[in-house]
Protein backbone atom coordinates (compact mmCIF):
# COMPACT_ATOMS: atom_id res chain seq x y z
CA UNK A 1 0.00 0.00 0.00
CA UNK A 2 1.30 3.44 -0.86
CA UNK A 3 0.05 6.33 1.24
CA UNK A 4 -0.99 9.55 -0.49
CA UNK A 5 -2.26 12.54 1.46
CA UNK A 6 -5.28 14.57 0.48
CA UNK A 7 -2.98 17.62 0.54
CA UNK A 8 -0.76 16.14 -2.21
CA UNK A 9 -3.85 15.56 -4.35
CA UNK A 10 -5.06 19.10 -3.75
CA UNK A 11 -1.69 20.59 -4.71
CA UNK A 12 -1.37 18.51 -7.87
CA UNK A 13 -4.92 19.38 -9.03
CA UNK A 14 -4.27 23.07 -8.35
CA UNK A 15 -0.96 22.99 -10.26
CA UNK A 16 -2.53 21.27 -13.26
CA UNK A 17 -5.51 23.63 -13.59
CA UNK A 18 -3.20 26.64 -13.37
CA UNK A 19 -0.92 25.16 -16.04
CA UNK A 20 -3.80 24.29 -18.33
CA UNK A 21 -5.31 27.78 -18.18
CA UNK A 22 -2.08 29.68 -18.91
CA UNK A 23 -0.07 27.36 -21.18
CA UNK A 24 -1.40 25.85 -24.36
CA UNK A 25 -0.05 22.42 -25.39
CA UNK A 26 2.81 22.16 -27.91
CA UNK A 27 0.69 20.11 -30.28
CA UNK A 28 -2.09 22.71 -30.43
CA UNK A 29 0.40 25.57 -30.73
CA UNK A 30 2.17 23.87 -33.63
CA UNK A 31 -1.11 23.09 -35.34
CA UNK A 32 -2.14 26.76 -35.20
CA UNK A 33 1.30 27.85 -36.47
CA UNK A 34 1.01 25.44 -39.38
CA UNK A 35 -2.53 26.58 -40.12
CA UNK A 36 -1.53 30.25 -40.12
CA UNK A 37 0.86 29.48 -42.99
CA UNK A 38 -1.57 27.33 -44.98
CA UNK A 39 -4.69 29.50 -44.46
CA UNK A 40 -6.01 31.07 -47.67
CA UNK A 41 -8.13 33.84 -46.22
CA UNK A 42 -6.56 37.13 -45.12
CA UNK A 43 -8.97 37.51 -42.19
CA UNK A 44 -8.34 33.88 -41.29
CA UNK A 45 -4.60 34.43 -41.18
CA UNK A 46 -5.07 37.50 -38.98
CA UNK A 47 -7.23 35.55 -36.58
CA UNK A 48 -4.70 32.71 -36.34
CA UNK A 49 -1.86 35.16 -35.76
CA UNK A 50 -3.88 36.87 -33.03
CA UNK A 51 -4.39 33.46 -31.43
CA UNK A 52 -0.62 32.84 -31.47
CA UNK A 53 -0.03 36.28 -29.91
CA UNK A 54 -2.60 35.48 -27.27
CA UNK A 55 -0.84 32.24 -26.27
CA UNK A 56 2.41 34.20 -25.81
CA UNK A 57 0.83 36.94 -23.73
CA UNK A 58 -1.10 34.42 -21.63
CA UNK A 59 2.01 32.40 -20.81
CA UNK A 60 4.33 35.36 -20.21
CA UNK A 61 1.93 37.52 -18.23
CA UNK A 62 0.04 34.73 -16.49
CA UNK A 63 -3.32 35.79 -17.89
CA UNK A 64 -5.97 33.19 -18.71
CA UNK A 65 -5.80 32.13 -22.38
CA UNK A 66 -9.57 32.56 -22.50
CA UNK A 67 -11.85 34.23 -19.98
CA UNK A 68 -14.08 31.20 -20.16
CA UNK A 69 -11.91 29.15 -17.85
CA UNK A 70 -14.57 26.50 -18.07
CA UNK A 71 -15.90 23.81 -15.82
CA UNK A 72 -13.18 21.70 -14.20
CA UNK A 73 -13.09 18.16 -15.58
CA UNK A 74 -10.68 15.47 -14.44
CA UNK A 75 -9.88 12.02 -15.83
CA UNK A 76 -7.98 10.17 -13.13
CA UNK A 77 -6.31 6.75 -13.09
CA UNK A 78 -6.09 5.72 -9.46
CA UNK A 79 -3.68 2.88 -8.73
CA UNK A 80 -5.33 0.19 -6.63
CA UNK A 81 -2.26 0.02 -4.34
CA UNK A 82 -2.83 3.63 -3.28
CA UNK A 83 -4.38 4.40 0.06
CA UNK A 84 -5.69 7.95 0.39
CA UNK A 85 -5.36 9.75 3.72
CA UNK A 86 -8.26 12.16 3.74
CA UNK A 87 -11.29 12.84 1.56
CA UNK A 88 -10.66 12.18 -2.16
CA UNK A 89 -13.46 14.31 -3.59
CA UNK A 90 -12.92 17.17 -1.16
CA UNK A 91 -9.20 17.29 -1.96
CA UNK A 92 -9.85 17.52 -5.68
CA UNK A 93 -12.47 20.26 -5.26
CA UNK A 94 -10.16 22.21 -2.90
CA UNK A 95 -7.46 22.03 -5.54
CA UNK A 96 -9.82 23.39 -8.18
CA UNK A 97 -11.06 26.15 -5.86
CA UNK A 98 -7.54 27.27 -4.96
CA UNK A 99 -6.46 27.30 -8.62
CA UNK A 100 -9.43 29.38 -9.65
CA UNK A 101 -9.18 31.84 -6.76
CA UNK A 102 -5.40 32.27 -6.67
CA UNK A 103 -5.05 32.15 -10.45
CA UNK A 104 -7.65 34.89 -11.03
CA UNK A 105 -9.61 32.43 -13.13
CA UNK A 106 -13.30 32.97 -13.76
CA UNK A 107 -15.75 31.01 -11.63
CA UNK A 108 -18.35 29.84 -14.11
CA UNK A 109 -20.22 27.15 -12.20
CA UNK A 110 -23.85 27.72 -11.16
CA UNK A 111 -25.91 25.60 -8.79
CA UNK A 112 -29.30 24.38 -9.95
CA UNK A 113 -29.24 24.80 -13.71
CA UNK A 114 -32.89 25.76 -14.26
CA UNK A 115 -34.16 28.11 -11.58
CA UNK A 116 -31.66 29.90 -9.30
CA UNK A 117 -28.50 29.54 -11.39
CA UNK A 118 -26.51 30.96 -8.49
CA UNK A 119 -22.75 31.12 -9.02
CA UNK A 120 -20.98 28.66 -6.70
CA UNK A 121 -18.06 31.15 -6.48
CA UNK A 122 -15.51 28.33 -6.38
CA UNK A 123 -15.87 26.86 -9.88
CA UNK A 124 -16.79 23.67 -8.08
CA UNK A 125 -18.07 21.01 -8.14
CA UNK A 126 -15.41 19.48 -10.34
CA UNK A 127 -16.55 16.76 -12.73
CA UNK A 128 -14.47 13.71 -11.86
CA UNK A 129 -14.04 10.46 -13.80
CA UNK A 130 -11.94 7.88 -11.96
CA UNK A 131 -10.68 4.57 -13.32
CA UNK A 132 -9.14 2.16 -10.83
CA UNK A 133 -6.05 0.60 -12.38
CA UNK A 134 -3.18 -1.67 -11.28
CA UNK A 135 -0.21 0.00 -9.63
CA UNK A 136 0.56 2.59 -7.00
CA UNK A 137 0.40 5.88 -8.87
CA UNK A 138 -2.30 8.47 -9.43
CA UNK A 139 -2.37 9.86 -12.98
CA UNK A 140 -4.29 13.05 -13.60
CA UNK A 141 -5.51 14.45 -16.91
CA UNK A 142 -7.39 17.71 -16.39
CA UNK A 143 -9.20 20.02 -18.74
CA UNK A 144 -11.04 23.30 -18.15
CA UNK A 145 -13.91 23.02 -20.63
CA UNK A 146 -15.45 26.22 -21.92
CA UNK A 147 -19.07 26.19 -22.90
CA UNK A 148 -19.09 28.02 -26.21
CA UNK A 149 -17.78 24.81 -27.69
CA UNK A 150 -19.44 22.39 -25.25
CA UNK A 151 -22.85 23.81 -26.26
CA UNK A 152 -22.19 22.77 -29.86
CA UNK A 153 -21.58 19.12 -29.01
CA UNK A 154 -24.08 16.44 -30.05
CA UNK A 155 -25.09 12.84 -29.52
CA UNK A 156 -26.86 10.61 -32.04
CA UNK A 157 -28.14 7.11 -31.44
CA UNK A 158 -27.40 5.90 -34.95
CA UNK A 159 -28.41 2.61 -36.54
CA UNK A 160 -25.73 0.03 -37.36
CA UNK A 161 -26.93 0.35 -40.98
CA UNK A 162 -25.82 4.01 -41.01
CA UNK A 163 -22.21 2.84 -41.20
CA UNK A 164 -19.01 4.87 -41.41
CA UNK A 165 -20.54 7.20 -43.99
CA UNK A 166 -23.34 8.08 -41.58
CA UNK A 167 -20.84 8.76 -38.83
CA UNK A 168 -18.67 11.06 -40.96
CA UNK A 169 -21.76 12.94 -42.14
CA UNK A 170 -22.96 13.42 -38.56
CA UNK A 171 -19.57 14.80 -37.50
CA UNK A 172 -19.44 17.22 -40.43
CA UNK A 173 -23.05 18.28 -39.92
CA UNK A 174 -22.31 19.01 -36.24
CA UNK A 175 -19.49 21.35 -37.24
CA UNK A 176 -21.61 22.94 -39.97
CA UNK A 177 -24.48 23.69 -37.58
CA UNK A 178 -22.05 25.12 -35.01
CA UNK A 179 -20.64 27.63 -37.48
CA UNK A 180 -18.65 30.38 -35.73
CA UNK A 181 -20.05 29.65 -32.26
CA UNK A 182 -17.40 27.25 -30.90
CA UNK A 183 -14.46 29.53 -31.86
CA UNK A 184 -13.01 27.69 -34.85
CA UNK A 185 -10.53 26.29 -35.62
CA UNK A 186 -11.89 23.50 -33.46
CA UNK A 187 -10.64 20.13 -32.31
CA UNK A 188 -13.33 17.48 -32.64
CA UNK A 189 -13.46 14.47 -30.34
CA UNK A 190 -15.72 11.58 -31.33
CA UNK A 191 -16.59 8.29 -29.71
CA UNK A 192 -18.53 5.61 -31.55
CA UNK A 193 -20.09 2.82 -29.49
CA UNK A 194 -20.60 2.24 -25.79
CA UNK A 195 -23.78 3.73 -24.34
CA UNK A 196 -25.08 7.32 -24.33
CA UNK A 197 -23.02 8.14 -21.25
CA UNK A 198 -19.85 6.25 -22.16
CA UNK A 199 -19.78 7.64 -25.70
CA UNK A 200 -20.17 11.21 -24.42
CA UNK A 201 -17.42 10.88 -21.82
CA UNK A 202 -15.02 9.18 -24.24
CA UNK A 203 -15.73 11.82 -26.90
CA UNK A 204 -14.66 14.48 -24.38
CA UNK A 205 -11.52 12.46 -23.67
CA UNK A 206 -10.88 12.13 -27.39
CA UNK A 207 -10.56 15.94 -27.67
CA UNK A 208 -7.55 15.65 -25.36
CA UNK A 209 -5.63 13.27 -27.62
CA UNK A 210 -2.55 14.70 -29.32
CA UNK A 211 -3.34 16.83 -32.35
CA UNK A 212 -1.64 15.17 -35.31
CA UNK A 213 -1.99 11.62 -34.04
CA UNK A 214 -4.43 9.27 -35.71
CA UNK A 215 -6.34 6.34 -34.28
CA UNK A 216 -4.05 3.31 -34.78
CA UNK A 217 -6.87 1.36 -36.48
CA UNK A 218 -6.68 2.32 -40.21
CA UNK A 219 -10.47 2.03 -40.66
CA UNK A 220 -10.99 4.67 -37.97
CA UNK A 221 -8.09 6.88 -39.04
CA UNK A 222 -9.65 6.84 -42.49
CA UNK A 223 -12.87 8.23 -41.02
CA UNK A 224 -10.80 10.86 -39.15
CA UNK A 225 -9.18 11.96 -42.43
CA UNK A 226 -12.45 12.04 -44.33
CA UNK A 227 -14.23 14.04 -41.62
CA UNK A 228 -11.40 16.58 -41.33
CA UNK A 229 -11.25 17.10 -45.09
CA UNK A 230 -15.00 17.56 -45.40
CA UNK A 231 -15.06 19.91 -42.41
CA UNK A 232 -12.35 22.12 -43.86
CA UNK A 233 -14.16 22.17 -47.19
CA UNK A 234 -17.12 23.86 -45.46
CA UNK A 235 -15.27 27.19 -45.64
CA UNK A 236 -16.30 28.32 -42.15
CA UNK A 237 -12.72 29.29 -41.29
CA UNK A 238 -11.03 30.79 -38.20
CA UNK A 239 -13.60 32.59 -36.00
CA UNK A 240 -16.21 31.57 -38.57
CA UNK A 241 -15.24 34.48 -40.79
CA UNK A 242 -14.36 32.36 -43.81
CA UNK A 243 -11.28 30.28 -44.60
CA UNK A 244 -10.01 26.76 -45.03
CA UNK A 245 -9.06 26.07 -41.42
CA UNK A 246 -12.28 25.18 -39.67
CA UNK A 247 -10.96 22.27 -37.61
CA UNK A 248 -7.38 21.44 -36.67
CA UNK A 249 -8.00 17.76 -36.05
CA UNK A 250 -10.62 15.02 -35.63
CA UNK A 251 -10.00 12.26 -33.08
CA UNK A 252 -12.28 9.21 -33.26
CA UNK A 253 -12.31 6.64 -30.49
CA UNK A 254 -14.51 3.55 -30.31
CA UNK A 255 -15.94 1.27 -27.65
CA UNK A 256 -17.77 -2.07 -27.79
CA UNK A 257 -21.50 -1.55 -28.01
CA UNK A 258 -24.87 -3.30 -28.21
CA UNK A 259 -25.84 -5.22 -31.34
CA UNK A 260 -28.83 -2.94 -31.83
CA UNK A 261 -26.98 0.32 -31.69
CA UNK A 262 -24.24 2.65 -32.79
CA UNK A 263 -24.13 5.65 -30.44
CA UNK A 264 -22.04 8.51 -31.85
CA UNK A 265 -21.01 11.34 -29.53
CA UNK A 266 -19.29 14.39 -30.99
CA UNK A 267 -17.59 16.73 -28.52
CA UNK A 268 -16.50 20.07 -29.91
CA UNK A 269 -13.46 21.84 -28.46
CA UNK A 270 -12.42 25.37 -29.36
CA UNK A 271 -8.90 26.33 -30.45
CA UNK A 272 -8.06 27.04 -26.79
CA UNK A 273 -7.86 23.30 -26.23
CA UNK A 274 -6.50 23.45 -22.71
CA UNK A 275 -5.38 20.43 -20.77
CA UNK A 276 -2.58 19.33 -18.45
CA UNK A 277 -1.45 16.00 -17.05
CA UNK A 278 0.64 14.93 -14.09
CA UNK A 279 1.37 12.03 -11.78
CA UNK A 280 1.60 11.57 -8.03
Amino acid sequence: MREVNAKQIKEKVKELFLTANFHIGEDVLNAIKEASVKENSETGKNVLNMILDNYKIAANEVLAICQDTGLAILFIKLGQEVHINGNWEEAINEGVKEAYVEGYLRKSSVTDPVFDRKNTKTNCPAIIYTDIVPGDKIEFLVTPKGFGSENMSRLAMMKPADGSEGIVNFIVETVKIAGPNPCPPTIIGVCVGGTTDQASVMAKKATLRKVGEHNPDPRYSDMERQALEKINNLGIGPAGLGGNTTSLWVNIDYKPTHIAGMPVAVNVCCHAARHASGVI
Binding site: L63, Q67, T69, N119, N181, C183, L234, G242
Partner: protein, 185 residues
Protein backbone atom coordinates in the same frame (compact mmCIF):
# COMPACT_ATOMS: atom_id res chain seq x y z
CA UNK B 1 -2.45 44.34 -43.65
CA UNK B 2 -4.69 47.33 -44.30
CA UNK B 3 -4.38 50.36 -41.99
CA UNK B 4 -6.79 49.85 -39.17
CA UNK B 5 -9.39 52.56 -38.57
CA UNK B 6 -9.91 53.68 -34.99
CA UNK B 7 -13.44 54.63 -34.01
CA UNK B 8 -14.41 56.43 -30.80
CA UNK B 9 -17.51 56.01 -28.70
CA UNK B 10 -20.19 57.22 -28.60
CA UNK B 11 -20.76 56.19 -32.23
CA UNK B 12 -22.58 58.73 -34.37
CA UNK B 13 -25.40 57.61 -36.67
CA UNK B 14 -23.35 58.80 -39.65
CA UNK B 15 -20.36 56.68 -38.61
CA UNK B 16 -22.59 53.66 -38.08
CA UNK B 17 -24.12 53.94 -41.54
CA UNK B 18 -20.62 54.16 -43.06
CA UNK B 19 -19.20 51.09 -41.36
CA UNK B 20 -19.09 48.14 -43.77
CA UNK B 21 -19.11 44.43 -42.95
CA UNK B 22 -15.54 43.17 -43.21
CA UNK B 23 -13.79 46.31 -41.98
CA UNK B 24 -11.11 45.80 -39.33
CA UNK B 25 -11.47 48.59 -36.78
CA UNK B 26 -10.30 49.37 -33.27
CA UNK B 27 -12.66 50.88 -30.73
CA UNK B 28 -11.69 53.49 -28.15
CA UNK B 29 -13.89 54.98 -25.45
CA UNK B 30 -16.45 53.75 -22.95
CA UNK B 31 -18.42 50.55 -23.47
CA UNK B 32 -20.71 48.52 -21.19
CA UNK B 33 -20.58 44.78 -20.62
CA UNK B 34 -23.55 42.47 -20.25
CA UNK B 35 -24.43 38.88 -20.92
CA UNK B 36 -27.21 36.38 -20.17
CA UNK B 37 -28.26 37.20 -16.59
CA UNK B 38 -27.80 40.99 -16.90
CA UNK B 39 -29.83 41.10 -20.11
CA UNK B 40 -32.65 39.17 -18.47
CA UNK B 41 -32.70 41.61 -15.56
CA UNK B 42 -32.76 44.63 -17.87
CA UNK B 43 -35.65 43.26 -19.88
CA UNK B 44 -37.54 42.28 -16.71
CA UNK B 45 -37.17 45.89 -15.45
CA UNK B 46 -38.47 47.24 -18.75
CA UNK B 47 -41.46 44.90 -18.57
CA UNK B 48 -42.20 46.24 -15.09
CA UNK B 49 -41.89 49.79 -16.36
CA UNK B 50 -38.92 50.48 -14.11
CA UNK B 51 -35.77 52.53 -14.75
CA UNK B 52 -32.64 50.79 -16.03
CA UNK B 53 -29.36 51.04 -14.07
CA UNK B 54 -27.47 52.14 -17.20
CA UNK B 55 -28.09 54.40 -20.18
CA UNK B 56 -28.78 52.32 -23.30
CA UNK B 57 -29.24 55.06 -25.87
CA UNK B 58 -26.14 55.57 -27.99
CA UNK B 59 -24.12 52.91 -26.20
CA UNK B 60 -22.19 49.76 -27.10
CA UNK B 61 -22.65 46.54 -25.13
CA UNK B 62 -19.83 43.98 -25.07
CA UNK B 63 -21.00 40.42 -24.42
CA UNK B 64 -18.38 39.25 -21.94
CA UNK B 65 -17.95 37.65 -18.54
CA UNK B 66 -14.35 38.54 -17.70
CA UNK B 67 -11.92 36.61 -15.55
CA UNK B 68 -11.03 38.28 -12.23
CA UNK B 69 -8.48 41.10 -12.44
CA UNK B 70 -4.96 40.06 -11.41
CA UNK B 71 -2.87 42.56 -9.47
CA UNK B 72 -1.30 45.20 -11.72
CA UNK B 73 -3.98 44.91 -14.40
CA UNK B 74 -7.19 46.87 -15.03
CA UNK B 75 -9.06 43.81 -16.16
CA UNK B 76 -8.65 40.04 -16.36
CA UNK B 77 -8.87 38.04 -19.59
CA UNK B 78 -11.97 39.29 -21.38
CA UNK B 79 -12.81 37.66 -24.69
CA UNK B 80 -16.35 37.68 -26.11
CA UNK B 81 -19.05 35.19 -25.22
CA UNK B 82 -21.37 33.68 -27.82
CA UNK B 83 -23.92 36.31 -28.85
CA UNK B 84 -26.91 34.21 -29.90
CA UNK B 85 -27.90 33.70 -26.28
CA UNK B 86 -28.65 37.44 -26.03
CA UNK B 87 -30.77 37.44 -29.20
CA UNK B 88 -34.13 37.21 -27.39
CA UNK B 89 -33.36 40.42 -25.50
CA UNK B 90 -31.61 42.45 -28.19
CA UNK B 91 -34.36 43.92 -30.38
CA UNK B 92 -35.87 45.61 -27.27
CA UNK B 93 -32.52 47.22 -26.45
CA UNK B 94 -31.98 48.27 -30.07
CA UNK B 95 -35.39 49.96 -29.98
CA UNK B 96 -34.12 51.90 -26.94
CA UNK B 97 -31.18 53.22 -28.95
CA UNK B 98 -28.40 50.66 -28.43
CA UNK B 99 -25.93 51.46 -31.24
CA UNK B 100 -23.39 48.67 -31.12
CA UNK B 101 -22.84 45.16 -29.88
CA UNK B 102 -19.56 43.33 -29.59
CA UNK B 103 -19.62 39.55 -29.38
CA UNK B 104 -18.98 36.47 -31.44
CA UNK B 105 -21.11 34.15 -33.51
CA UNK B 106 -24.35 34.28 -35.46
CA UNK B 107 -27.28 36.59 -34.76
CA UNK B 108 -30.93 35.85 -35.44
CA UNK B 109 -32.99 37.26 -38.29
CA UNK B 110 -34.99 39.31 -35.78
CA UNK B 111 -31.85 40.94 -34.40
CA UNK B 112 -30.53 41.77 -37.87
CA UNK B 113 -33.85 43.29 -38.94
CA UNK B 114 -33.89 45.38 -35.78
CA UNK B 115 -30.31 46.51 -36.46
CA UNK B 116 -31.32 47.67 -39.94
CA UNK B 117 -34.44 49.39 -38.61
CA UNK B 118 -32.63 51.16 -35.76
CA UNK B 119 -29.24 51.77 -37.40
CA UNK B 120 -26.88 49.65 -35.28
CA UNK B 121 -23.73 47.59 -35.87
CA UNK B 122 -22.56 44.19 -34.63
CA UNK B 123 -18.82 43.85 -34.15
CA UNK B 124 -17.05 40.51 -33.82
CA UNK B 125 -14.26 40.25 -31.30
CA UNK B 126 -12.17 37.13 -31.76
CA UNK B 127 -13.08 34.39 -29.32
CA UNK B 128 -10.25 33.00 -27.25
CA UNK B 129 -7.82 35.91 -27.64
CA UNK B 130 -8.89 37.00 -24.21
CA UNK B 131 -5.46 38.05 -22.96
CA UNK B 132 -4.90 40.29 -26.00
CA UNK B 133 -8.26 41.97 -25.43
CA UNK B 134 -7.60 42.38 -21.69
CA UNK B 135 -4.67 44.60 -22.50
CA UNK B 136 -6.92 47.04 -24.40
CA UNK B 137 -9.13 47.57 -21.35
CA UNK B 138 -7.69 50.55 -19.52
CA UNK B 139 -10.25 50.89 -16.75
CA UNK B 140 -13.09 48.82 -15.42
CA UNK B 141 -15.79 49.44 -12.85
CA UNK B 142 -18.87 47.47 -11.91
CA UNK B 143 -21.90 49.71 -12.48
CA UNK B 144 -24.74 47.25 -11.84
CA UNK B 145 -25.52 43.74 -10.58
CA UNK B 146 -22.34 43.13 -8.61
CA UNK B 147 -23.99 40.01 -7.18
CA UNK B 148 -23.74 38.40 -10.63
CA UNK B 149 -19.95 38.20 -10.33
CA UNK B 150 -18.51 37.83 -13.85
CA UNK B 151 -21.98 38.51 -15.28
CA UNK B 152 -22.19 41.97 -13.70
CA UNK B 153 -22.54 45.07 -15.90
CA UNK B 154 -19.13 46.75 -16.11
CA UNK B 155 -18.18 50.04 -17.65
CA UNK B 156 -14.87 49.66 -19.50
CA UNK B 157 -12.66 52.34 -20.94
CA UNK B 158 -11.00 50.68 -23.94
CA UNK B 159 -8.16 51.80 -26.18
CA UNK B 160 -7.63 50.19 -29.57
CA UNK B 161 -9.87 47.23 -28.86
CA UNK B 162 -9.54 45.17 -32.07
CA UNK B 163 -12.81 44.10 -33.69
CA UNK B 164 -14.24 43.33 -37.13
CA UNK B 165 -17.45 44.90 -38.41
CA UNK B 166 -19.39 41.65 -38.70
CA UNK B 167 -22.97 42.71 -39.46
CA UNK B 168 -23.38 46.31 -40.61
CA UNK B 169 -26.43 48.58 -40.38
CA UNK B 170 -27.49 47.50 -43.87
CA UNK B 171 -27.63 43.84 -42.83
CA UNK B 172 -24.50 42.67 -44.66
CA UNK B 173 -23.31 39.69 -42.66
CA UNK B 174 -19.76 38.33 -42.78
CA UNK B 175 -20.83 34.98 -41.39
CA UNK B 176 -23.02 34.62 -44.49
CA UNK B 177 -20.82 36.22 -47.12
CA UNK B 178 -17.38 34.81 -46.30
CA UNK B 179 -17.60 31.02 -45.75
CA UNK B 180 -19.16 30.34 -49.20
CA UNK B 181 -16.05 31.88 -50.79
CA UNK B 182 -13.93 29.15 -49.21
CA UNK B 183 -16.39 26.29 -49.55
CA UNK B 184 -15.22 23.30 -51.60
CA UNK B 185 -17.36 20.37 -52.80
Amino acid sequence: MEKVKNIKTPLSDKLIQNLKAGENVTISGYIYTGRDAAHKRLIDLLKEGKKLPIEINGQIIYYVGPAPTPPGYKCGSAGPTTSYRMDPYTPTLLDLGLKGMIGKGLRSKEVIESMKKNGAVYFAAIGGVAAVIAKSIKSSEVVAYEDLGPEAIHKYYVEDFPVIVCIDAKGNNLYESEPPKYKKK
